[in-house]
Subunit: 361 residues, 4 copies
Amino acid sequence: MAMAMVCLSDFEAYAKKYLPKIAWDFFAAGADDCSTRDENILAYKRIHFRPRMLRDVSMMDIRTKLLGTEISFPVGIAPTGFHQLAWPDGEKSTARGTLLTYSTCTLEEISAAAPGSLRWFQLYIHRNRAVSQQLVQQAEALGFQGLVLTADLPYTGKRRDDVRNGFRLPPHMQLKNLEGAFEVCKMNDRSEYGLPPNSLDPSVTWNDIYWLRSLTHLPIIIKGILTKEDAELAVSHGVQGIIVSNHGGRQLDGGPATIDALVEVVEAVQGRVEVYLDGGIRKGSDVLKALALGAKCVFIGRPALWGLAYKVSRLIGHKDESDNFICYHLNWKQYMVLIQQFHSGVTNSSEVHVELDAADV
Amino acid sequence: MAMAMVCLSDFEAYAKKYLPKIAWDFFAAGADDCSTRDENILAYKRIHFRPRMLRDVSMMDIRTKLLGTEISFPVGIAPTGFHQLAWPDGEKSTARGTLLTYSTCTLEEISAAAPGSLRWFQLYIHRNRAVSQQLVQQAEALGFQGLVLTADLPYTGKRRDDVRNGFRLPPHMQLKNLEGAFEVCKMNDRSEYGLPPNSLDPSVTWNDIYWLRSLTHLPIIIKGILTKEDAELAVSHGVQGIIVSNHGGRQLDGGPATIDALVEVVEAVQGRVEVYLDGGIRKGSDVLKALALGAKCVFIGRPALWGLAYKVSRLIGHKDESDNFICYHLNWKQYMVLIQQFHSGVTNSSEVHVELDAADV
Amino acid sequence: MAMAMVCLSDFEAYAKKYLPKIAWDFFAAGADDCSTRDENILAYKRIHFRPRMLRDVSMMDIRTKLLGTEISFPVGIAPTGFHQLAWPDGEKSTARGTLLTYSTCTLEEISAAAPGSLRWFQLYIHRNRAVSQQLVQQAEALGFQGLVLTADLPYTGKRRDDVRNGFRLPPHMQLKNLEGAFEVCKMNDRSEYGLPPNSLDPSVTWNDIYWLRSLTHLPIIIKGILTKEDAELAVSHGVQGIIVSNHGGRQLDGGPATIDALVEVVEAVQGRVEVYLDGGIRKGSDVLKALALGAKCVFIGRPALWGLAYKVSRLIGHKDESDNFICYHLNWKQYMVLIQQFHSGVTNSSEVHVELDAADV
Amino acid sequence: MAMAMVCLSDFEAYAKKYLPKIAWDFFAAGADDCSTRDENILAYKRIHFRPRMLRDVSMMDIRTKLLGTEISFPVGIAPTGFHQLAWPDGEKSTARGTLLTYSTCTLEEISAAAPGSLRWFQLYIHRNRAVSQQLVQQAEALGFQGLVLTADLPYTGKRRDDVRNGFRLPPHMQLKNLEGAFEVCKMNDRSEYGLPPNSLDPSVTWNDIYWLRSLTHLPIIIKGILTKEDAELAVSHGVQGIIVSNHGGRQLDGGPATIDALVEVVEAVQGRVEVYLDGGIRKGSDVLKALALGAKCVFIGRPALWGLAYKVSRLIGHKDESDNFICYHLNWKQYMVLIQQFHSGVTNSSEVHVELDAADV
């Protein structure tokens, strides 16, 4: 191997070097000045551990359960679109995490690629409610175990480089899940990322959670919550889980880093539903900080795409699942010790707790 | 278009490239070390949104009213001088915003160029009070709807690059509004920006508001207020509006960023008069932050000049009004959603509020 | 003039370019990492004005009195050594400010050069007390109006560049004031800046103020105070003035910026003696901040040396006194307005007050 | 001497230039992003002195006692491994400080090289307890005066450059202390720094302090404590001393700087045992800050290695002991004044105290 890959930043550098600029820019993009995208990462540096010594850390077990289903470690793949930009095989290679509506593989293809995985289906609500209803019911039929409703996309954020690059989905990459639904739409240059313009419904409100509930027995996880007020609303409307997320800083610039928002959401929720987080996870220590501040598990987005890009150009085979592949490079060793203390009851959360800087609390 | 213009920074870069250095330096200049000029922009980055989700944002209406007159969105053009440095057509092209005394077009020319706009007349008080009285009465006769008294210019700030460049108004650019008044003055090299030295009156006090009131029925808006103490004085002396401004950092270096000063002014005023702001607005999110912190509308200064410079060199026609043109590039889309919630009553200000960092409150 | 000199930084750049490296390094040097030297300047940026508007600032008078003697503006020249490194004429050209023991001109020469100026004599206490006694009595006889006892030099700070450069006072630059006293000493390469090693007395204590008082009727000003505890001791031992100083960061690295220390000293002193400050003054706004925080006047050190270096190379005549020359470039105009409000009683200190950042108070 | 060596940074630059890259990288390495390694140094800059003046500092005595044994100044050499990477003579040249298990000299060699020094033996606990027991008893027999149990190494931190470089101990550098113990192990490329993989015991707990106590009469000092909770446990388990340490940031990234952790450890311990510190000491002022915040002495790690590297390439003889050599360059002069006040009772700790920034307390 010409270049030693020892941490996720190495994969980032690799992907930046080998991906076409338009694809790299699309994956890297943040809204406006990219402040929130960058804050997602910087905020972890303001959080410090209070390391404890001389505990028996000879046994490590970092399995956890998401809504009752066991996963081998508390990191999943966040929904990120258009994986075929990074790898011809597309989402099939990242099927072990949650999945996305705007997929360049069909649900059947994805479902078949990862039969034994935990699979949640990620959903936007369209102006044409029949489209969303059809997707929900198809997902349930295919054995998906949860529905992730992304709440922070009434309109698409302005990613300057995408505008400069005139980013459009290449013609051979179809949005397969939606093909039928939008076949009457002509894709013109006002389309947004391959969707007809304004196909998402900006009038969605909390009451639509009830409508969604009427369509399916799957647990509903809401993604995009950043405040205690919305966390309270999520609980009172009956969701089973909350993903604290700012869409990787791609939607609204100027909101909080997710690790900062996590604190108030966890405090508001008081354990009534599970809380997860995505945004800025680059190291095992970041995972530990999120867990210690109350997240049940975290999701990684861009790093999974970097891993895909690496696999393509290195001709790494299918068996080497990209999520494990990437997670290995999170550098678990030191932090698993602490994470397992946290999970196993050897210690409790206050003993392995992290400490936010005074300025952040 | 060779260079994609997707945000105001692109216009800034364009203007810096194409304007003569002496004109660029004059527009860009701040007093002394330019700390306050730069703080105006940096301060917005310390203010974070608390984004709320799942509200019906399908209808957007961001009209507002300034002293009873409706404007289509809450952004106006701040008075900035010597527009002919950027465009031969000068202030006539920016006539939709407020206007300036030190104009290189006559009031009649400006008034004729934008007959249907909201037009406020910006005023300095001269040692020769007759000059100011004449300007006030002429403005009222021409249909201007408000008088903006700029209070922060007893002496001109030291802008180092202007001194280095030996900045003088080019001979063909006359200060038309004042031509008659100063015809007896010989312009020598001690003149300040085309005015005779020391023409502004440094002895102006709050009592001069009463004198101004005696000259006109127009509402008086005071520009340059940065403290709660002065805000209280402004209200008690009967002004109708306050523009929180530090003159773009061109006058006094070391004062607060305007977005920081806004908080205490709004709290002191308690809704008795309207409060506006200028300084550092570069994105829709900046506008939203100002509105959420209590401004009724904001004004942009330098970006309007960048827009003018762009129009000149691109030969863009007159119909494309520079204020709309520039405001389009503020990237409204995401933020209009939030702004309209703020305005329409769908939500109230505490729900779409922004949160100042602890360190700033 | 090839290069426009519009602010003190321009003189700094000029001096750096034209002075021999060894002389520039000596003047610029700070102890160890130079943190305190740099903090002296950075600290002003954390202090913000709360500018007030619409006050009559037509009359400006910024005279002040130091221990009863009027000076034309509240800025003096701090004692800095070895002026002949910058100008053959040495201290005679900066004679309007306070003066220094380690002078390359004799006291008589200095005294004759500036007969009408306020002149304070700066003193170190030597192991050989007779030397100090002789200097004190000579200074009083020559009409000096105050004694400045520098308290922060029990040992010399380590200025790395001086060590690297092997800095020694050139042979033609004699320390004239001390010539007689040290004539029996052989200057070898262990001498410190032309003095025999260890000539200063590190056993000096507060009781030596009483000894000094017994030698002279001149008021005693103590220089180098940085804490409220020492300020209290200074008052109780009968000094007439305190200069808050950290020796330009040349002695001890890691102490406070002088503008930060000023606050606690002023509060401790409660007006019982006059308080002055040196360190980091580069702009009129810095002067104002110091005055508003309670300094009666400030002293500038390195900038006076830059001015000397400029005068030498530009062949500027003697009449153009370097202190006025430099002070002109502090950019008084805007700040005199505020300073005179502060002094004249038009406003009081709380009205023109500056505001320390919350983090600094 | 071609390059003046005036501070420890100069030795750092020298070592970086002359050491083989793989050795430099190994010494310089920090875990993961190296945040904690860098914080160790940066944290000192946030701590300020409150310098007091006019005290008799003519007599300086900075001797101190560690567990009853006098040392000439309060700085020791921290255990750092593999000195032969920097100097053929290895640990024999740094024998005046504490020592290390993973030594490339035998205990007998080290003991013979520095017969009169204070020597503590640094210990890890191995899965094979017999190895540790043998080392402890050998150390006691050889006259070592204390046992330092390093507690923060259940697993080795990930130092990215070492992974990239494929760092392995060169074959001629044997880990002499452990030779016998591990002779049955085959060193393959999964070995960790010359030790068989997983030789250290991750199941060590506080109860093992009692086991260690049963083996020896030597005082036990625990190294790696960073919290008040662990400090309390250390005292209650009967250790005689605590070294606040984060292993130079080599183990866990994201913990506190040691100077920050010192404050809570000292407060918890309340003088019941001695507290020391390592990490980030580069100047005499750093030493003083640590002492003023409650450390009895500090240890330096990497700088000792830089000094060794310098001695090798400069052919400096053995007599010039590297610890004194390096400590000289800490620049004691100014700070000894303050340190001796602190130690001698001329002043007490509150008078020479340092002040943590508000944000850090």
